[in-house]
């Protein structure tokens, strides 16, 4: 663990992205507070993955800038302090689950810590599959392996792109309980893209709701629920109020965009 790994603040200034003539991310000013978890929700194809890739420096902005802890993303990347779990798990098929998790440590130039590797594989419920290749895993199991890979380097910035998309409801709830303590303990700045409104509220300190493409923020909803959060929380009044607010904001964004989309 590098000593300078206190979680950084992520700041987007006038950030926008176009692919050719298509604007995918509308110019935006965003600040993600150090150590906070922010959930990004929005309709499919609105530009959430693109925003995450911009933050990771994998995509160059068309305008504006991204800084992580005051410096360009590349600095954080090169220190191995950023991890991204891609929307498609992107496990290397010739490596086992353990091999894929180990690869992240190698790429981040960190010491190979067998205990930590085993603990994370356990945590995502893949104990017993550590020696299995991705080809023999289900879609949900692959996603969990990808989560373990993203977290094993104990990054200061964690970018999760629909990490639970193909995971069943029960396992999802389990992961939603088990994972946050890890990044809370480490105070990681986390961005989480998800299509599940309740997951967004359950996992985050703040929910950003985006409009259809080009992505623009429709609502910025703080989530002041106490931690640790248990599954039982999901039937409480404050939780339901928050999910209602997020759903409404999503609907509002869609409705506002409808005439524009119809015109296209």
């Amino acid at each position: 663990m590098a000593p300078d790994a206190s979680p950084p603040e992520i700041v987007c200034r006038g950030l926008s992205k176009c692919f050719g003539a298509t604007e995918v991310v509308a110019p935006c000013e965003l600040t993600f507070a150090a150590g906070q978890t922010t959930a990004l929700v929005g309709p499919s194809g609105c530009g959430k993955s693109t925003l995450l890739r911009l933050v990771a420096g994998l995509e160059a902005p068309s305008a504006g800038s991204v800084t992580i802890g005051g410096a360009p993303p590349g600095d954080t990347l090169r220190r191995g302090q950023l991890s991204m779990a891609f929307q498609d798990p992107s496990l290397l098929p010739w490596r086992t689950v353990r091999g894929n998790v180990t690869l992240a440590l190698k790429l981040a130039r960190q010491r190979k810590d067998e205990a930590r590797i085993a603990r994370l594989i356990d945590l995502v419920g893949l104990d017993g599959f550590a020696g299995t290749r991705p080809g023999a895993l289900s879609g949900g199991m692959r996603q969990r392996a990808a989560i373990a890979r993203a977290m094993v380097t104990e990054p200061a910035v964690l970018l999760l792109d629909e990490p639970f998309g193909a995971v069943d409801e029960l396992t999802r709830q389990q992961l939603a309980e088990d994972l946050p303590p890890l990044w809370e303990a480490r105070e990681t700045t986390t961005l989480l893209v998800t299509h599940s409104v309740s997951e967004a509220v359950m996992l985050s300190d703040r929910v950003l709701v985006f409009s259809p493409r080009p992505a623009a923020v429709v609502a910025d909803i703080p989530v002041a629920l106490e931690r640790p959060r248990r599954a039982s929380l999901s039937s409480s009044k404050p939780f339901l109020d928050l999910t209602g607010e997020v759903s409404e904001a999503l609907a509002r964004g869609m409705a506002a965009a409808a005439p524009r989309l119809a015109a296209q």
Binding site: T76, L77, R79, L82, S83, L92, W94, K106, L107
Partner: protein
Amino acid sequence: MIVAAAMRRSDPVLRAALGLLLIVALWELSARALSGAYILAGPVEVARYLAQNSGLMVRALRETLWSAAQGFFWGNLAAVTLAVTAIVMPRSERVVSALALLVFCLPLVATGPILRVLYGPGDGPQITLAALAVYYTTYVPLLVGLRAAPATWFELVQSYGRGRAAELWHVRAMTALPYLFAGLQIAAPAAFLGAMVGEFTGAERGMGVLTIRAMRALDVPGAWALASLAAAISVAAYAAIGALARAVSVAPPPVILSPPGAPVGRRLGALAPLGLTILALVLWWGLLEGFGLNAFFAKRPGDVFEALMLAPDAAQTRATLLAALRETAIAVVPGYLAGLALGAALATLIVLVPVASTVAMPLAVALRSVPIVTSAPLGVLLLGRGEAGTITLVALMVFFPTFVACLHGLRQAPGQILDVFDSYAAGPVARLVHVRLPAMLPAFFAAARMAVPASVLAVTVVEWLATGQGIGSLMALSASLSDYDMLWASVAVVALLSAAGYGLVSRAEALVLSRYAAEQVRR
């Protein structure tokens, strides 16, 4: 019926063996029928010859194998180096690929004698020709394999702040492995072929030397025995590398070859060929100067230009060259087209008869690895010295790779789409037209591209060894008369024309694929 059912179930090796047995039986029967004509020796006679001359054969084989092995090593090393260079420095790819192609298009028939002068006696030319015969067929699939990974695998590496070296090591090396083995598999027989052609140019020992001798002496059993031995070795080498790939559990690559040509939509325009030609000329000049080669036989671009344009007998030289090229074109163009058409047509027909395809596939894979060129003398024995013989040999040289590639392509038709057709109870013809043929196109064009230099090789070797016509013969004649101006001029013209033909096929490929198989065109 029972045999058919058994074949469907049995493994490909058994099926190939069955097919080979069939061929050997046919071969023996035709030999008996033609006995007295002194053109065809049957398997029994061949076996007898091999047994009687086993000492000589083993010595010759060892010689050729050793040259081929060294050429195989150096050629593939060059291929790997070139491919890695093109990947690590993407800007260099166009130039690397174009020069690699141009060098591959140098006619072995002429480079052989030139190398012989350079090296003197010994096995230098054989090794070099073997290396020249293999590097391009490894380079092309390797380049595809090094790229055969989804973008996110590279982004994973990038997201940890790592660069091209880490990508190469952690991702590309592994994705390229199946493609590398596919390339090596084709390279093994090609190296043997290259070594034999090298021996044709005046070695002291080896299979090539014996082949030439047998042909000059009209030693029919000897010629057939040597050709059979070369074929058997080639098939064995091909199979051995396939087995090695399976042993290290490398699956065959999913797509044989996707177009490595110009990345579509990123062409440099009409100036690119000109720039590359200039670069090639500069390299040609620089290499000869750099090695300080004697200007008597190592002609520079300027010498060739002078011989073709300025010298008093330039018109005569040009006329001779053009006449030879015309003779060659008459043989190579129909042969090339016939080989392509037959390969594609037969593959298409055969998928309609699944049982036939289960036999034909492994057999064709085995026969593809036979170095047809080295048996050119036999072709001439069988078919005479006329155009028909040359055209047939060129067609055969093109036919087998095309047939195998097309069969692979036809079988690659995506399962889900075929399921959709099944759900409408579409007949085999509808499936063929709408699903299988489009799936075949990329493989067909990959084969058509590679067949251009292959058919030029075939035609020049046949002309050189047997028919005494065309550019192949002209090159051989110039070499023996020490007319190095004519020799170098022929080499340059043939290489340029081959490369241009290859480029033409690539263009056609890009046009057709962007229409019918857009996903195959590299972005």
